[in-house]
Subunit: 430 residues, 4 copies
């Protein structure tokens, strides 16, 4: 044991009335909700990068965190892993997620980076075995290093495409080795800064080819996990090609990959794209590409990705309602892609931020489950569309319909949409 | 002749130095640009609705305009048409566009509305014949009347779907009778106010079925024009299903209609969706669904559709550059979907707003043509990607590429994206 | 009794477990919170305009509501008043608010409008006396009629200033006659569409002069209520002069009126100005100009004023926390400046929307009171700044401080801001 | 001479037709505009920080630039200064601006940082003397180092206030030593991340006290330059106290400093605050606090500070029109607070970005001057308000005005605001 979290106990459920900051008030892992334990609904994962690799910088200031593992040696990387797994166990999260760049030092060239990754993968495999913590997903960081400044798969330079493809292979290998349940692609630099220097047609084709290679490699290796794309509209780029769920869907259809790839939906990215989180989740479900979620909160008044820990329970309830309507997570889960505020310097801040986030999710899940179980919301929805249950209209043509409208003198009478009473109904479960 | 525009002369080209407000300084219809007359590049159209049917209201105030044709008789509708064609001829725009609701009075039921439409269609046909002005596109207004408050094709009530389908048929008939070159669908109410009462799966299926019916009717009638969808993200709804070009593309792919339907891209809608106008145009081109444009300007500081006349020439240049790169308009054109400010009460405001807009477009087109002719921008773009011209990478797989990266020790070196110098280059043509 | 709300009972408190849609689950008027009844904390008011005068239109569609009192006769106006007071009594709201234009028909000229206002004022006085419902505030609608299209006090035409001043006088008289506890000014057209035709210096001076006249008239008449300005950044104008609380404060200071005028803060307007509601409330408190609130909810994804009924209890809790920290309302209250969605056609929608809103506010208030009573949040805040309690720094000068920093070799060590744990703490009370 | 800009010539004016990338097409320093040389209108300054100290990072990636002077020795700092002055001279900018942190290495404590600053100040003084380049303004960076993470003047820890005050003193001293014409304060961390841990009242009082100390020190030292506050709404904080021009004005009035302090208005910050640049400039002029400008361009689709070089000439024209209406710059100037895109790696990118920006400003200035000289815009504005020239209304009271409205039966008739024709007029000068 390191002494980073010295004095902080493993977090236990104590119920809503508990005054103990270091206890769950809502997350009770084994409590059965809609027929299965809460932990199996929520499938919580902690993110390696924000919690252990981010130094606390922003565009106007540098490092605020001072962690004993900050450095670029293998020893630093192992200390970081030790502390990370201590946090996972304190919190009782069943999963974690990583990028290669979070957990291994950058090497002097590709081969050295890959060797570092291999060594750390073995180290993490041991940590997993000891702790029982599993890997929800792995991914490659193809956006931080300056070589990726103009894109990874979509780079004007084929050498960067090659470097990226090779890196993805090593990260998929590590994910497979660690029993990961998904492999994620977020295209942080797969977009443009200016149309003036961009060949959008070439770049889309490159991105499609890369995604096909990933899918082929999944099949070649027999990897059973899901391949997930994480939509985001912009930042760091002016425009990112996987803007939102609808855009990703069109991209997948274009390359014939809609049966092979799903989406990892993030609340903050949804907000930046002008959508509510529940919208993106509902759309992914309807399009058949719902996979997993990145759970955070974006400040509604900030035009950049704030990646805060979630705390608004009514919003969580609406999100998990859509997850439940999608049948819940299969390979996916709830990954806290959330970071501490850069002023939250203390080890206990890291623990308490997750405790609060897990509780907000759990409270949201319970409310969502109650809504679904009660059935009033779905009954109202079905009743609203019930006229369609017996309608033959969708099989007709314009001329036939016009004749019918004239003959029957159809004069539709609007009916109340009842939004406010449905909102009241939702509030009843909260 | 009515006396609405009394004293206002036909607008002629007088050149950049002219001090005459009632003259074009840049739009010279027969001036040849890139091998064809400017008028055939721009294919200007005026919009019936904003210019002649809108009373000047906003959410906080009612009618400011007082037009002699405001009323709901056929005589009013004919006077409106007379004035509209006078404006088209004063401006020398070769085209106009309409919704049914702009040009005929609403009847007591479907049949009466359809009769009114028929009668006005014949009246407009005569006006077209007399004036030589043509119809760029027709469309149905399926959003203003209260029957459409919960959607048209996507309404929970099949009767509204039927009413909408029948209305579309009559509007397609009118468009065909008037020799329209396109038929447009804008789904102003095809979206939702709240997910709580919305069955997104049903609504998408309904929208897809309606679009298929429209395409079938096009083929059945032998209509040669294009079917165009006009994307918009929201307003009046919280979310509109044809959010942006990428979303429409995914929708078309889903229903197998990507070869049948194109997009009519509006500047203001692009801005509201978080995109630049040129982005939406470039994307439509790359996806093969570029059709036509609605030209206006959205205030960058206002979060709703301001539909102002365009006046920023550098922005127009970037937009027409993408139009030219798409091969220019085929059936499409430049429709001024722009409205006067509600304080611009005078008949001459209506003329001058169009004069300024046409001049801004013409100046933008000339700059775009010069950029394209000069070729430096395209040369720089091609050079940036030239490494790909001889690359075999897209045909390989991840393992092969990884081996190559290791063997060749590929270490990509970033190269300048040169954004600022390309921006300087663009400014040279303005 | 009209039969508009036929069959809808007076709303009673039944507690959180009630399944009755027509009951309060949180609002228990006489329940004592922090030493006084909940109703005296919240001081709920219903808004005449949204609930009874708005026809359900939006920029893309017209009237959806069909109310028996829509029309422009005095009989219509009285029927509207009858129904309004029935709603106030069903809900048990102690207050209402009005604009002149909501409650009297527009006359053919100023004198006739004023006569109509007088007659309706007497009618409302009787309704108040019968029902015990009181007037929280009155105001003049100086934005809907076309005469105000270019501003009221800030109009380029002095005649409009005069008409506005005269109208304000009649509305202040009506407010006084009805025992109103405040008089509100919202400058919907006091801004500009374009700087090109605007003399901002003149317009500010005109606005300052008008406000001084209002204050003078208050003193002349002995009106004891507060004069309130309601900030809004834009819409309908591109820019509104009373953009937000900070802007109004600067304006008041400029004209020496900061001791005479307070603010009526609206959630939706705060959001449109880029602020959280609680920010605007906290700032108003710190500046000493907090007066009253307009309670609604703005859709975070919509860039215009959506004026929805509030339903997010955690947000309400933060808002009322700032109200309580300001010492609670004096003359102010909680006015539901919220409107039904235009698809919510039924009389019961109007009742249920208010029930849900009142419950959300009540739940928020109780949470806020618990936070304040518990004291942990304030203790943490005070502790964070405790170094200042004994500091003499603010009385020194730069040179003295520099010397001290050098001599003591001051090297400040950052301390955690603890944001996440404070957010967790807040959630405990919800 | 270093060899950083090797091969790049001094930039000369060659006129609009020049094909030379390394020449001005519009900026002709000695060309007389409105009676004085262009260079004296524009008073261009280059920013030390963006051009020489920024490594090219963003929130998702690190350093892209590799400059020979990156490091933290005094030798690095001097090499940076050498290259900076080479750039100033190549461009022919008469001014530059700096933060302490840009030009001196951070020391181990305050005293060492101050010594480094002193030494570099002397070095820069020599460079100024050799080159003739002058200092437009200096400022202290009180936001990058972790000690400032919770604010500088507004920090909960008095020690940080003290450290900040001492730092400001040294920076004012350096500014005075270098003949700076202004001293600027931008409060990047003077705001909050969450209201929950913030005492807004204390923080405002601290900020006011600090500003008073700065003003006192100005008077004590006899510094003749202006003290400037640079408004920004947010980023890095959630809320910044000097949100926009109107907010700063209220703050100055509150502390009685409106005659002592002016504003340095930045285009990007205006956009982020929901305003146009010209709005902020016009408002500053009307409030009597216009000082200087930071010239850059914010991407309209990005919700963070993009600080791009300006390139839209019509926007520049509107900005300089307001500057000219304010009487032009006194101590202020046009500081390029703009940074290269992080992909623009080459030394020549740095030169060309400035060349394009200077040309855009010069073209804007010339258009603005022509507008003002021609006088049509001002004539139209004055005509619109001419009714006020002879009005006695502002001296009356509500009752008197009401009587007049009744007696004269005033019925104001709206007149066209003519926005579109004024926009056309502006375009004529471009």
């Amino acid at each position: 044991m390191t002494d980073f979290f010295k004095g902080i106990p493993a977090i236990k459920f104590e119920g809503a009335q508990s005054d103990n900051e270091f206890a769950f008030r809502h997350y009770n892992p084994d409590e059965v909700v809609l027929g299965k334990p809460m932990k199996d609904h929520l499938r919580f994962a902690a993110a390696y990068w924000h919690s252990f690799a981010w130094p606390g910088g922003d565009p106007f200031g540098g490092q605020t965190f001072q962690r004993p593992w900050f450095g670029d040696t293998m020893a630093d990387a192992k200390l970081k892993a030790d502390v990370a797994f201590e946090m996972f166990q304190i919190l009782g999260v069943p999963y974690y997620c990583f990028h290669d760049a979070d957990m291994r030092p950058e090497g002097a060239n590709f081969a050295e980076s890959a060797r570092n990754l291999d060594e750390m993968t073995e180290y993490l495999a041991e940590k997993q075995a000891e702790s029982g913590v599993k890997l929800l997903w792995g991914t490659a960081n193809l956006f931080s290093h300056r070589r990726f400044m103009s894109g990874a798969a979509t780079n004007p330079d084929p050498d960067v495409f090659a470097y990226s493809a090779a890196t993805i292979k090593t990260c998929m290998d590590a994910t497979i080795r660690l029993g990961g349940e998904n492999y994620v692609l977020w295209g942080g630099r797969e977009g443009y800064e200016t149309l003036l220097n961009t060949d959008m047609g070439r770049e889309r084709a490159q991105a499609g080819a890369m995604l096909q290679m990933v899918v082929d490699y999944k099949h070649k290796t027999g990897f059973k996990g899901a391949i997930l794309i994480e939509p985001k509209p912009q930042e760091p780029t002016k425009h990112q090609y996987d803007y939102d769920v609808a855009t990703v869907y069109g991209f997948l259809k274009d390359f014939g990959l809609e049966g092979e790839v799903q989406v990892n939906v993030e609340q903050g990215h949804a907000i930046l794209a002008g959508h509510s989180f529940e919208h993106e989740l509902a759309l992914a479900r309807e399009l058949g590409i719902f996979g997993s979620i990145d759970m955070n909160r974006n400040d509604y008044q900030s035009g950049w990705d704030t990646d805060q820990f979630p705390n608004n329970v009514p919003e969580m309830a609406l999100a998990y309602y859509e997850v439940l309507r999608a049948g819940g997570f299969k390979t996916g889960g709830t990954n806290f892609d959330a970071k501490l505020r850069r002023q939250s310097l203390d080890p206990e801040d890291l623990i308490l931020a997750h405790v609060g986030g897990m509780d907000a999710c759990a409270a949201g899940l319970k409310a969502a489950a109650a809504m679904l179980e009660d059935g009033k919301l779905e009954a109202a929805r079905n009743e609203r569309y019930s006229g369609w249950d017996t309608s033959d209209l969708l099989g007709l043509d314009l001329s036939t319909i016009e004749t019918r409208v004239r003959e029957l003198d159809i004069q539709p009478e609007p009916r109340s949409g009842k939004q406010e009473r449905l909102e009241n109904l939702v509030n009843k479960y909260l």
